[in-house]
Amino acid sequence: MIGRHRHCIALEDYSREEILEVLDLALSMKEVLRRPLKKVPTLRGKSVVNLFFESSTRTRSSFEIAAKVLSADALNWTSTGSSVSKGETLLDTAKNLEAMRPDVIVVRHAASGAPAFLARHVRCSVVSAGDGAHEHPSQGLLDCFTIRERLGSLGGRTVTIVGDISHSRVARSDLHAMGKLGASVRVCGPPTMIPQGIDRLGATVFHDLESAVAGADAVVMLRIQHERIGDPLIPGTREYSRYWGLDVNKASEWLKPECLILHPGPINRGVELSSDVADGPHSVILDQVENGVAVRMAILYLLAGAGATAAGAPPEKATA
């Protein structure tokens, strides 16, 4: 359980305290990752199924490593080459997986709402690894963790999210979580990529990169998805990088010296970020990858760690 939640699907549903519970725990999990022997017996005998209907290397490996460090068994189920490509429905796939008695199903799906749908139909915990343009909660949490680790807190900080806000589940999870932790969030991108009503989620909209990043404590540069290049939203990568990308000149002129640059990966070098910025002093992109494992360990521990339901658990006994 994370606070009141048996699943981790949307940070929109999480309270500030529930988000902080995961982030504080992830700090202890990060210490485990720094040990000479990176394994603890905590989730021995538990199993985690990674159910990925969209390609992903980073997120799937990250969940897999998180499960394995905690001694859970991890099973990867990808849509290509499986029964899904033979026409099996999401519900049938889930029911079949459930018959194997996993404790957690981690799901990524192109359709917004797929994890919530699964959660209604299976008995185990469901963790979203990104659904459509809805949310990517573990990414939102690891972004918060990374900023918190560097700056101490998100309270009173300004975070700018740059890119295709309309199609970004990362932007939505970041917005919900960072807002609850007290940051003011700006979004910036081509007008065609800023959804109507984003201000109702607490974001301030900017259409010019220089003013959007002025005074910001952290900038999240979103990935431009190649499949969108050339469609009416953006004519080409050169134009995109000229107006919405960060190179070393813009970074040194426009950013505060201590401003952090985040990116959910994989980076399109030369489009959202030039190489010297991606590898430069502002960048915390590789920290994000390491922190992602710690945050996912915290999520799995909270959801799969306790064996019985709260109602069926015997009273606690002192073990001093």
Partner: protein, 175 residues
């Protein structure tokens, strides 16, 4: 036990540890089990330093990730920081807790400790041994033996200055 008795017990345990370590005293390291053992480990280290002239390294273990009762709990325990800032390989580790009861915490701490390396040996030092073991574990050094029944709690209150500290046996709430 009052503050004086606690202070004497800690000093005596430190002398016994140094004596038993003999010429190996240079290889001692002190590791407190969170949370009750952490402050006690600091005190013990200070006493050992007084006796030998060198301060042994100090570490902290949080055993939450090594508990054996996760399957029986409704919620998972909070995980605090573990910090072993020295190589355990070849050292004599003094594992420290405030109260020794079932022995399950010590079992978990031993499992966690050996995941950091292979110590030469591990000694267990506790302020209070209250009996009631559920595993074959014994203290090498104990400040006091305070037999208590399963319906009772042994509370150890330690303070930084050492003023208002004591050990008391109370009836467990709800029993």
């Amino acid at each position: 036990m009052n503050a004086d008795a606690i202070g004497r017990a800690v000093a005596r345990m430190a002398r016994e540890i140094v004596e038993r370590a003999g010429r190996g005293a240079a290889d001692l390291a002190v590791v407190g089990i969170r949370r009750g053992g952490v402050h006690l480990a600091e005190r013990l280290r200070a006493e050992i330093a007084r006796a030998t002239g060198t301060r042994p390294p100090l570490g902290t273990l949080d055993i939450a990730l090594y508990r054996d009762d996760l399957a029986e709990r409704g919620r998972v325990p909070v995980v605090g920081p573990t910090d072993i800032p020295f190589p355990v390989q070849g050292r004599t580790i003094v594992l420290v807790d405030d109260v020794l009861y079932t022995g399950r915490t010590v079992r978990a701490a031993l499992d966690e400790l050996v995941d950091f390396g292979r110590p030469r040996r591990v000694w267990l030092a506790v302020l209070v041994d209250r009996g009631g073991r559920e595993l074959p574990i014994a203290a090498d050094f104990a400040g006091a033996s305070v037999p208590a029944s399963d319906g009772e709690d042994v509370l150890v209150r330690l303070t930084e200055g050492g003023a208002a500290e004591d050990v008391v046996v109370v009836m467990r709430r709800g029993s």
